[in-house]
C-alpha cells in the first residue's frame, strides 16, 4: 500500500525533502468545466459580457494561479514552471465551458497541483466574470487527466461513463485532446521577413540533441538560411518562456526565434 508522503512518522504534516530526487521532465494535464445558462454561454462566446474578454482574462488568471500554487497549498514547493497552457472548449450541448490546463517543468517534483490549481482558478475567474448575469453556474469535474515523469510513474485517467459514450475515437485517447507531435517553430518580426519563414513544423527525431542548439543545427541542415538563427542577437522562447541554446526541448513544444524587443 502507498503511504501519504506529506505525513511524517508521527502522523504530522511535513514538506517532502526533494533535494536528492532526480530531475526529470514532468507534465500534468488537468481539466474541469463551468456550466451556465445557454444565454450566458452565448454572451460569453459573443464577447458581450459586462466585464469584457472573459476567456482571455480567465486564461491569464489560470496561468498566474499555477505559478502561485505554493502560496495556496501549504506543503507544495515553489516550482519554476517551464510552461503553463490553459485551453477552452465551448460545449454547447451541455452549456459548459470546458477548461484544460497543462503544466510542464524539468525538476524534482510533479506539477499536478499546479495544473489542478490553474483549472480551479480559471473556473473561478469565469464565474466572477459572468456572475452579473448568471449566479446559478456550477463548477464541476475538476480532475487530473494525465501525469508523466517522476518516480511514481505515469498516470492516465481511465475513461469514465461520460467518456465511454464518445469512445469511438479509440485507443487510449478517449475524450482527451490529442497533443500535437513534432516541434512548431516560429520566426517573428524582422527575422521572419529576413528568412521568409513565419511558421514551420519539424519532426522531433530530426534533432540529434533535444535542445535549442540541436534544433538550430537541424534547421541549418534543412536550409542554410537558418544559420542566421545562430547570430548572437537572436533570442528564443520555448513555450513562450525565454530560453537559450541549452534549454531542453520535448515533442510538442513551441519554439520562437526573434530579434531583441523594441516595444514601449
Amino acid at each position: 500500500m502507498k503511504n501519504l508522503s506529506h505525513i511524517n512518522a508521527r502522523g504530522e504534516a511535513h514538506m517532502v525533502d526533494v533535494a536528492d530526487k532526480e530531475e526529470s521532465r514532468r507534465e500534468a494535464v488537468a481539466s474541469g468545466y463551468i456550466q451556465m445558462l445557454p444565454a450566458t454561454l452565448a454572451l460569453l462566446v459573443d464577447g458581450e459580457l459586462p466585464k469584457g474578454d472573459v476567456l482571455a482574462t480567465a486564461r491569464i488568471a489560470g496561468i498566474q494561479a499555477a505559478k502561485r500554487t505554493h502560496e495556496l497549498i501549504p506543503l507544495c514547493h515553489a516550482l519554476p514552471l517551464s510552461n503553463v497552457e490553459v485551453d477552452f472548449q465551448i460545449d454547447e450541448t451541455h452549456s459548459r465551458v470546458r477548461v484544460s490546463a497543462t503544466c510542464r517543468l524539468k525538476g524534482r517534483t510533479g506539477v499536478e497541483m499546479e495544473a489542478l490549481t490553474a483549472v480551479s482558478v480559471t473556473c473561478l475567474t469565469l464565474y466572477d466574470m459572468c456572475k452579473a448575469v448568471d449566479k446559478g453556474m456550477i463548477i464541476g469535474s475538476i480532475q487530473l487527466d494525465t501525469k508523466t515523469g517522476g518516480k511514481s510513474g505515469d498516470y492516465r485517467r481511465v475513461a469514465d461513463d461520460e467518456q465511454i459514450v464518445t469512445a469511438s475515437c479509440g485507443d487510449g485517447e478517449i475524450g482527451m485532446p490529442s497533443r500535437r507531435s513534432g516541434l512548431r517553430v516560429k520566426c517573428l518580426a524582422e527575422l521572419r521577413e529576413r528568412l521568409g519563414v513565419h511558421e514551420l513544423d519539424i519532426e522531433f527525431d530530426e534533432l540529434e540533441v533535444a535542445n535549442i542548439a540541436g534544433l538550430k543545427k537541424a534547421l541549418r541542415n534543412r536550409d542554410s538560411r537558418f544559420s542566421h538563427l545562430s547570430e548572437q542577437r537572436i533570442l528564443c522562447a520555448v513555450n513562450q518562456v525565454m530560453g537559450s541554446d541549452e534549454t531542453p526541448l520535448s515533442d510538442g513544444d513551441e519554439v520562437a526565434f526573434f530579434p531583441p524587443v523594441t516595444g514601449g
Partner: protein
Amino acid sequence: MNRVQQTPFDPGEEQRALTDGRTDIGAIVSFTGLVRDFNERPDVTGLTLEHYPGMTETALADIEDQARRRWSLQGVRIIHRVGRLSPGDPIVLVVVASAHRREAFMACDFIMDYLKTRAPFWKKEHTHSGHYWVAERETDQRDANRWEE
C-alpha cells in the same frame, strides 16, 4: 488588468478605473508613450507594432508581478497597443497606484524599463524613404540593468 489592443486608450479613464471606489490610494504615477515623427530617420510617417500573442500577456503579468514584489503597490495597469499607429498616437500606458509617491514613481520607471527590454513587441517604422525594423538600443538595456544592482 493589463491589455494588448489595437484601439486607442484614454489615460484619464484608465486612472479613474484604478482608483474607483478607493480612498486608500495616496499617489498615482502614470506614463504615456507617444509615437514620435522622428527616430532613426527624420520623417517617420507611422509605425507598425508586432507582438507574440500569449507570451506578451505572460511577460506583462510577470513584469507587474516583479514590481509588486519590489514595492508596496495598490494598483497597476499596463496597456500596450499593436498594429498600425501614426505620429502623436499613444502607444503605451503604465499607471501605478500606491500609498506614498516614491513607490509609484519607482515602480512606473521599473515597469517601463523592463517592458522595453523584456516584453515581446517589435516596431517597424514607415518613412518616405522606406520601411525598416527599429534596432534595439543599448541605453534601454542599461536602464533596465540599473534595477539588477
